[in-house]
Symmetry: C2
Subunit: 392 residues, 2 copies
């Protein structure tokens, strides 16, 4: 049998077969301070993230009002978000590994699809079409599911496919969550150990590990969003991997008034730990894989200042996963297991939140058949929800 | 070396050595409808569970007012709470196993210490003293930590020791949580499978697993209580053990107005699932190990009625762990591992909630030295926090 990469198509002209697309979904960030306005506008116009009355008008108004303040923050962290650069490095490393781990679906090519920044979902889809992609995997870069993050990205994906007339262009499957995948947990545990290295050896045992995840409005929690359960599961898995070497807490950051958000708030916890004379605190971003404004500014600048005022002597942050080789390899393993599983998505993807009001949620356009995997002899009906991506 | 159970004490008279006490801490329940008043009064007088202004007066008032309503509920489930009977069976089975798993600390004897019902903590301590107990383990029967449950029970234990003048009578260690202990997770997974058996074979795949835990006021969550993280960790571990065979949700029940409690509320989720035309739902009590009013009445009667009205065709509950042999064995394994670990408590026990205002919290009176374990040759300093009880 000819290798798929060198097979001759029916028209007789030689060309390498189309790549398997790995579409890396994330919120993105403005690469320059000039891009902040557009970024915030896209965010505040997204009903799936922030439902507002008179969304179009009020969203644009809030975005415009916040722009100068957020621009100042981006200036303080070097003029823009590094998330695109990190995603590029992650993607490059991932597909290199993936070609080795899953040669039968090679070559693999990654496409970055940001929800609120360039390159957008539409940008990614157009490139995929130009590259002749047939098979695509929507791979969320948020380890834990939330309708506000992965959900919003996927809904945008399905909408854009329809808008661009690409409904049937690609056969899709989805990696919708991986909160306790063992390779991810390994990488996280290593980053915690890297973080602990920043403390004097005789202080390390006394360091409190403060896991911090982006918070959600209670209205989202009460709708039944899976996020807090999955974030907590990641924390437990990482602590088990660390053999419970240190005391730990889970808190939630970045809430915006006036809504009530899920607590305990990271900010308040830092204040309280200071009041309790806690000397050593290591913050671990647990729900996001690359550095972004919430690590580089909120934790490293704002919370650090707060911690200093509160009397915490050594306040440090574990490095984000970024291009850590263990993590890049983890991304490839998650994708390879998904491809090998012959499943369309996790066992949870089709379960809409009990309180969901959004008919778009949990769509899967043009689901992949087993065509790519027909060498294994499984019938198309063998495509089942993917349990593997949950596993520790 | 003489077996400790037959060793001659220095005064020359022969008697079996004192038992190692396993003190089973739980909230308890009224065994008869006549006991409901006292039970509710103890509950509403407990500042650690329900802080009220004018606690003494208002607590008694609320308890008196609620008594007839709660008495009616207990009448409907057979006239009283079965928790004492289940705890007796669990305790008996546990110590039988424990004598085999940990012969060097045998004989073991269990003592039931309920926070709001008889036998109380004081009852247990007096019996232990009469039995000549020297070494005692406070073993919470709540798998996941909360200051409102295990915390309140332990604080009562330390208070009662002081009040009864028994401060130095017993050497203590604590099993303060076991959310993902593998034997517990095995037992839970089995109960879920038992629950699934109640559905027709061709419906089983479509059953939604609705894990339900007792809720907590948001004020407790915001203080930094570990409960939601640990409950979520149990759910994840059980689903992993079940290989994600079914869709699942985690919700919280039994909130009392007017405070805002952690959601999503089990009640609301049941209503929403009905509205979504979900036919098959299995509720799994995940934070309590014996049947009690919240399973037998709230789930089996109130929620079942609600589910019926909402259009859920088959609404079932997984059996509580009760005297399931796997669970009884799990209790013994958890205790044996604790005794073998030479640790005083979990690595989290000494970490007070960041927002804690209760100076009593995380006490450990008269901690056990390694005297019991001196045959192993470890120095006393080897007594460290117990990581093992966390492990999956």
């Amino acid at each position: 049998m000819l290798n798929t990469a060198t097979r001759l198509p029916s028209n007789g002209s030689y060309r390498p077969s189309a790549p398997t697309a790995i579409v890396m979904l994330n919120l993105g960030g403005p690469q320059t301070t000039d891009a902040v306005g557009t970024y915030l506008e896209r965010m505040f116009l997204d009903r799936e993230l922030i439902p507002l009355p008179f969304q179009e008008r009020l969203g644009k108004f809030i975005a415009r009002r916040r722009t100068p303040k957020i621009q100042r923050k981006y200036k303080q962290i070097g003029g823009g978000s590094p998330i695109y650069a990190w995603t590029q490095r992650q993607g490059k490393g991932m597909v290199q590994w993936l070609d080795r781990l899953s040669p039968e679906t090679a070559p693999h090519k990654f496409y970055v699809a940001f929800r609120y920044a360039d390159p957008t979902t539409a940008d990614a889809l157009k490139r995929m079409y130009a590259d002749g992609v047939k098979r695509a995997i929507a791979f969320t870069q948020y380890p834990q599911w939330s309708c506000s993050t992965t959900g919003a990205s996927l809904n945008e994906l399905w909408r854009e496919l329809l808008r661009l007339g690409l409904r049937d262009a690609f056969a899709w499957s989805v990696i919708d969550r991986w909160p306790t995948h063992s390779a991810f947990v390994d990488a996280m545990a290593k980053r915690v150990r890297d973080g602990l290295e920043q403390f004097a050896p005789d202080e390390r045992e006394s360091v409190l590990l403060l896991f911090s995840a982006h918070s959600l409005p209670l209205s989202v929690i009460e709708r039944g969003d899976a996020y807090p359960q999955e974030v907590a599961a990641t924390v437990q898995a990482v602590m088990e991997r660390l053999n419970f070497s240190n005391e730990f807490l889970l808190a939630y950051q970045s809430d915006i008034k006036p809504f009530r958000w899920l607590g305990p708030s990271t900010e308040r916890v830092i204040r309280d730990l200071g009041a309790r004379k806690r000397r050593n605190v290591l913050v671990i971003p647990i729900a996001f894989t690359s550095d972004h404004i919430e690590t580089l500014h909120e934790i490293d600048i704002e919370f650090a200042e707060l911690a200093h005022e509160a009397g915490i002597v050594n306040f440090r942050r574990a490095p984000a996963l970024n291009d850590d080789p263990l993590f890049v390899r983890a991304l490839a393993e998650i994708a390879a297991e998904h491809l090998g599983s012959r499943r369309l998505h996790s066992s949870q993807y089709k379960l809409r939140c009990p309180g969901c009001q959004n008919a778009m949620c949990r769509t899967l356009l043009n689901p992949a058949t087993d065509a790519l995997h027909s060498h294994a002899g499984h019938p198309a009906t063998a495509l089942r929800p993917d349990a593997a991506s949950h596993h520790a």
